[in-house]
């Protein structure tokens, strides 16, 4: 087991390196980071001539007495843009490891501070969504497997198929309209006054996110349970005269949870993507809303920092799900 974990840790580190490189590379190769720092000034292409003294520097930048090329030169030096991408990547990576994610172009606040302030709200939303998903999916999954083929099972199959076909933002908009605007049963936006109001105002968005994953969970659990119910030990338990309820909850449920655990990691990815969108709909000032604002304002360090934090979190969660899975089912370790 120790060797297995060691191998997985090495793999984890390699993947984190490649994920951060993809994120850094995407924003550096696809866009011009200079544009993100100095804005439209980056389009100036005669700075070489100014340096050589062939031409006067221009002064188009507002409330700045310095020349345009001077500003560009400083920005390039400050951010090391004159160095190769690989070298900049490692400098940047070193900074991240020490907790320095850079400074927002817009607010001049450290990115780590912005994320520390926004992330808890997003995390709370996601945790609530997972709890709701499990609370809905497990009882329904167990009951629909127990009564497979009957009316309730058919109805839940149709419902979960419908839920899988409705995008979470669409469900969010419908739920917001019906429960918060037309009927005002629950708040339409986030209320940060106390822990109680926070939970209260997250009920709607968390339900929207949770229901989407609940449909996947319910389908998997039902399929796995149907297989488990064919096993000899279930017949044995039945022959001994145990009640159906006891067999379903005490004997059959636990060995049927493997697929559900496997997709837990995957569903977290769907949940992260979903919460980026849902936060906007329900005005939750979480990391999703922060990314949207940062993208609109071309705030490069905030986008990069948030993406890196999210991707790292996702990789680490999958790492632990993997370990948990292996620990629960020794057969995986062998292969």
């Amino acid at each position: 087991m120790a060797r297995f974990i060691a191998r997985r840790v090495v793999q984890l580190i390699l993947v984190l390196l490649s994920v951060t490189f993809i994120a850094f590379g995407a924003l550096n190769f696809l866009g011009d980071p200079l544009v993100n720092i100095v804005g439209p000034l980056a389009a100036i292409d005669y700075c070489d001539e100014v340096e050589a003294g062939l031409r006067e520097d221009s002064y188009t930048s507002i409330n700045n007495s310095r020349g345009d090329c001077e500003i560009i030169g400083e920005a390039k030096a400050d951010f090391g843009l004159d160095k190769p991408v690989i070298q900049r990547y490692f400098t940047w990576l070193g900074n991240i490891i020490t907790g320095d994610l850079g400074t927002s172009f817009q607010t001049q606040l450290p990115v780590s501070e912005i994320i520390a302030q926004k992330l808890p709200k997003s995390l709370m939303l996601m945790v609530m969504a997972q709890i709701i998903a499990l609370a809905v999916a497990i009882p329904i999954g167990v009951y629909s497997a127990y009564r497979a083929g009957r009316a309730v099972d058919r109805a839940t199959s149709v419902a979960s198929f419908g839920l899988l076909s409705i995008p979470n933002f669409a469900l969010g908009v419908i739920v917001l309209q019906f429960f918060a605007l037309r009927n005002q049963w629950l708040p339409a936006s986030f209320d940060d006054t106390s822990i109680g109001t926070r939970i209260h105002s997250l009920i709607l968005p968390a339900t929207v996110l949770g229901l989407g994953i609940a449909a996947t969970y319910q389908r998997l659990l039902r399929t796995d349970l149907l297989t488990t119910l064919q096993e000899d030990f279930v017949h044995m338990a039945r022959a001994k005269g145990m009640t159906d309820r006891h067999i379903m909850t005490r004997h059959a449920l636990r060995p049927s949870l493997f697929s559900l655990i496997t997709v837990f990691g995957v569903s977290t990815g769907a949940l992260i993507g979903g919460s980026l969108v849902i936060e906007g709909i329900f005005s939750i000032p979480g990391i999703g809303s922060e990314i949207v604002t940062a993208v609109v304002r071309d705030d490069f360090p905030v986008v990069l920092g948030s993406v890196v934090v999210i991707a790292t979190g996702f990789v680490v969660i999958n790492f632990f799900v993997d370990l948990l899975y292996t620990w629960l089912d020794p057969r995986v370790r062998a292969s």
């Binding site: 990815g269 980026l276 969108v277 990314i291 993406v307």
Partner: protein, 296 residues
């Protein structure tokens, strides 16, 4: 038809009509309903410029915030633009980026997946590592990363959706290739001296394409939804271009959603029906091809 009758017909001689019946039965009525809806939406999307509908971008085509079945068939939005026309024009971009995206995903993802599964060794390790890294991003985050710093034209959005699809598709292609590469007919081809290129194209590709067919429909549904997600992040196609995602965003501003909810609900309904039809048809095709796989 009872079981015993079916057995005798199969034993006596293979009855083409019986096979046709079985085919229709398995795909089912729902499949054809789904396909009809998809055909209708695609046709409307293709023919939008020639259909007798209002100009989707004309401001004050009707009174602003007019309800459903008023002067305009499905009402108007806050600027008095015709919701029905906007939904049909939205289908052009939503279906367009969805289809182009999944096409790109299948061509590129399929190619690298088959390469990884067939050549094994270092090729496989490198490809699998890159794929694993790409899968380590939540898909919407990956899409955001690509579109954030680009000009968002129709092609960039389609390309982004395609790139997001490459990793999961190549995984499936790799798994299917590995499964078939060990089969007798592939080994036979290798024994008689067929070149890798011939084995891949003639022996492996047709078999890998079968599960890909179902995936095209399912993946197109995912791409259409992903475009909507990007629209909510402000990262869908720029400018006056209309997509279902952008229309839903337009209609979900608090005031509109409260008093004039159809502006959001009409495109939501169109997207929901289309995605459900794609999922349903995809599922049926997958089940159908699976059955054939075991029956013969």
């Amino acid at each position: 038809m009872t079981n015993s009758v079916a057995f005798t017909t199969v034993v006596d001689d293979i009855d083409d009509e019986a096979l046709d019946d079985a085919f229709k039965k398995r795909l089912g009525f729902g499949f054809w309903v789904a396909i009809s809806w998809l055909g209708l939406v695609s046709l409307a999307a293709l023919l939008a410029p020639w259909l007798p509908i209002a100009d989707p971008n004309e401001i004050a085509n009707g009174a602003p915030r007019d309800g459903i079945l008023g002067d305009n068939f499905m009402g108007t939005d806050a600027l008095g633009r015709d919701v029905f026309a906007r939904t049909i024009w939205g289908a052009r971009i939503s279906l367009g980026v969805g289809f182009l995206g999944i096409l790109l995903g299948i061509v590129v993802g399929g190619a690298i997946g088959i390469a990884a599964g067939y050549f094994k060794g270092l090729t496989d390790q490198v490809i699998s590592f890159v794929v694993f890294s790409l899968l380590s991003f939540p898909s919407l985050v990956l899409a955001l990363l690509i579109t954030a710093s680009l000009n968002r034209s129709f092609l960039t959005v389609a390309m982004t959706l395609g790139i997001v699809g490459i990793a999961p598709i190549s995984r499936l292609a790799r798994a299917t290739t590995i499964q078939f590469a060990e089969r007798e007919f592939v080994q036979a081809a290798r024994v008689i001296g067929a070149k890798s290129r011939r084995i891949i194209i003639k022996e492996l590709l047709p078999n890998v394409l079968v599960p890909m067919g179902a995936l095209t429909l399912l993946g197109m549904g995912i791409s259409i939804v992903a475009e909507g997600g990007l629209a909510f992040l402000g990262l869908s196609v720029e400018g006056e271009a209309i997509s279902w995602g952008k229309s839903i965003v337009d209609g979900s501003q608090t005031r509109d959603l409260n008093q004039n909810s159809h502006v959001a609900f009409v495109p939501i309904f169109a997207m929901f029906l289309t995605v459900m039809a794609l999922n349903f048809a995809g599922d049926r095709i997958r089940e159908y091809t699976d059955v054939r796989e075991t029956a013969f």
